[in-house]
Amino acid sequence: MTTLNALASISVLYVLFLFGVAFFAERASRRGRATWLRAPIVYTLSLSIYCTAWTFYGAVGSAARNGFEYLTIYLGPSLVLIGWWWVLRKLVRIGRVQRITSIADLISSRYGKSNLLGVGVTLLAVIGTTPYIALQLQSVTLSVEVFNLATPGGAEEQSTAFWVAVGLAVFTVIFGTRNLDANERHHGVVMAIAVEAIVKLTALMAVGIFVVWGIAGGVSETLTRIDASELGNWEVNGGRWAGLMFLSAAAFLCLPRMFQVMVVENDNDPQLRMAAWAFPLYLMLMSLFIVPIAVVGLDVLPAGSNPDLFVLTVPLAYGQNALALLSFLGGFSSATSMVIVAAIALSTMVSNHIVMPIWLRMNEGMASVSGDVRYVVLLSRRLSIAGVLSLGYLYYAQSGGGAALSVIGLVAFTGVAQVLPAMLGGIFWRGATRVGALAGLTVGFVVWLYTLYLPSFGAGVIMPLSLFETGPFGIGWLKPEALFGISGIDPLLHAVIWSMSLNMVAFFVASLASFPSPLERLQGAQFVNIQQGTGGTRSWSQGVAEAEDLMVMAQRILGATDAQALFLREARRQGSETHLPAPTPEFLQILERELAGSVGAATAHAMVGQIVGGMSVSVEDLMAVADETAQMMEYSATLEAQSQELSRTAAQLRAVNDKLTRLSVQKDAFLSQISHELRTPMTSIRAFSEILRDGEGITPDEQSKYSSIIHDEAIRLTRLLDDLLDLSVLENGQVSLNLVDGKLEDVLDRAAAAALAHDDKRGLEIQRDWTGEQVWLNTDTERLSQVFINLISNARKYCDAPQRVLEIRVTSGDALMIDFIDNGSGVAPEAQDVIFEKFSRVSDQKAGGAGLGLAISRQIVTRLGGEISYLSGERGAAFRVILPLNHALAAQ
């Protein structure tokens, strides 16, 4: 039999191997050869930390004790991934765009960067995770014990758990807090976990294959054996089956360690697209042999054997030491990977939401001058890791490693699932508020503590026995396991139903009843509309920040090299001569986001706030920021153009002068233009109505022809009046916009259909950019479509190519650019800057137009917060419509 020493050395060798993998991956990523580290398969495998030792050993135990219920724990997460389109896709995008560092950060950031919420979620996570870590330590200890039956003893057990905890702390500190870069990704750790994922799958499948083909003698024999066993009939408790499936799905999304690997470590969309199908298959394979192992274990091992250890004891009973050893490594992998990632996730949360805010509070106003923040952050992370693991170890030591631990898995699931309403509400419902999230979390947490967590220690341990029998102070309907007098439900199900439903009700009602701050509303809009674009939060009004102070602070958090590179880059972009960018709102926002990657959104906001001053932000401020940014960009663009070539500036000035002259002529001509446009159709109408009135010498054909001319001209007149009214309303700013959410594709579809409806066989082919058009806008889609109709109609009427082609290109960046480019000969250069004026008519060709279309279009686009311009230098006539992507988000 394998000796304890051999086992210890094998474990150490295995851990060294993992160190090697992590080290190698980390080095490769630092050298920029990280492509394979970001491979979708690595991401998929890293999700396997869902399968802890609780799965590896406990699933067989659960199957042996409770039958098929264990399946639900893996069916729930499978459903989450199969439905990746709904939640995960959105979650990982939010995580990437907003640089979310943990689930506490997500909740805090979504609800106006509230640190109170961050602290709440962190505490919930610590309380929910600590017993879980203890469970892992216990499983390692138990598995060691199996090999070492000869020397059972309290002291040795405790020391195994202790040294495992120490070893894991060292590993996590080394690879989990190695770098404090902005994206908070740990390539080394993720790679090691991916390797462990393979080890545990291989181990479990090897034992399963041995059991099915080695012991039972084949698939059909195994199935017969299952049917003949005490698990022979398909019996599941309906409530628990459905409830556990929901619970495991919820926990899968909310567990801090799952959020870490799934969202924080996510790097690109293809990763998720692979995980969506591959991870359910992984879970399926992990679950496949559980029942056979349980059935065979119950069959061949003496009654009273611990079914939690069948994965080890069955191979050992058949003398398969090597297989048992592999299985031991599988369990060891499951335990260690869970602990490592959980420790990283928790330490990030504790450090960002508890330690850093306290430290900042203690050093009020000193963020720029006192100690090295970077060092403080790293230290607080390392201490947090040590703290989390100590807590886990203490919990294990205190609970005595008894059977009490095995039930803790589902209890912890229910605890962390309390974050679900605030999380899903936050990413799908703009009406969710900070107060609502706080209310929901608090209610859910309290109900969970009262109905499940505290009772889980057993009646009489923390809660007195009388509480269970008569309720607190004799209030019967408050009995912890029979709230509101509803008894007889399974205690776990009881707790899940009440905690989740009361949580949701509190969250919803408090959200409806409260009013969010501007920052919350802005964040809410950004989270809910994440697909629309990647605009950041505009949250700093121009303050009194000194660039030097910011530089000093940033250096301490990001490190000197990175901070200097960032500042230099921004300075260049602003066109500044020095190395320091001006503390514009835009720059502060970028800086804050970079810092948020290291210390979390709320802390970064507070730190920048200390230097910049002025923490309160109103909607007016936000508008002002947006305006200033736009002006700044225009201004710097002009400067750049001027410095490039002085003569060009002169030419521009001359052009402006010319334009003004022409405009003034046009202004003079405005009245006579209106007069002309109105009188022309009136002439026809009058002449023909007189002809009809006189009635002499008209054939019936002529009569009907002339009537229809009168009719057509009357319509033309009406349209003209409509256009004039439209324009005057738009120009006077009296128009009320009807802002709705709409997809660009739909607006263009509608415009193209309307513009080509009256097509006169001349034909116009429209080339669209289908993928670029999948952009959501919050704008007046009716008005916008009016603009597009004008542009398309113009191409149809004025493009002089034999085969008319209009290309519509869409580019989204900070703003959305829609270009309409045809293949005609374009607008003559001297006419390009007046075409947007009223009645401007470049050619004398009569095209039936009054010359108001582009003027109206320009007014509309300006009202929508964008601009329209003529692009010179394209092959044909080219118009560009620029729309702000986040337009009116803050207005809701």
Binding site: Q673, T680, A687, E696, E702, I709, D844, K846
Partner: protein, 122 residues
């Protein structure tokens, strides 16, 4: 009695109306709708009365009229100018260019007929 009238106008509906009104009274009506070569058409057709619009594609009615007045063959041609811009300035422009009559759109049919009759050489 009837003479030849040439209508230079770019709105097809207005051409149609004038043509109908004048033809009914027995005039021979020719039409042309482009400004650029209008002067050549006038010289070729040598009408008795010319009805000339101001806003024409290619060339303005004033320009055409000035050219006609500078040409001996058309110096005395009676010209009825039509304009849709009803400002005093336009009337002055028409007079200085040498229009025989000036009429603002919209006009009544009787007015046009009367003007053409008056302008036509007896």
């Amino acid at each position: 009695m009837a003479g030849h009238v040439l209508v230079i106008e770019d709105e097809p509906n207005i051409i149609e109306a004038i043509k109908f009104i004048l033809s009914r009274e027995g005039w021979n009506v020719a039409t042309h709708s482009n400004g650029e070569d209008a002067a050549d058409v006038v010289r070729a057709k040598s009408p008795d009365v010319l009805i000339l619009d101001v806003m024409l594609p290619g060339r303005s009615g004033y320009d055409i009229l000035r050219e006609l007045r500078g040409d001996a063959a058309t110096q005395a041609l009676p010209v009825l100018m039509l304009t849709a811009r009803g400002q005093t300035k336009d009337r002055e422009m028409a007079e200085s260019a040498g229009a025989s009559r000036f009429m603002t759109k919209p006009f009544s049919n009787a007015e046009v007929l009367e003007a053409v009759r008056a302008l036509a050489p007896a």
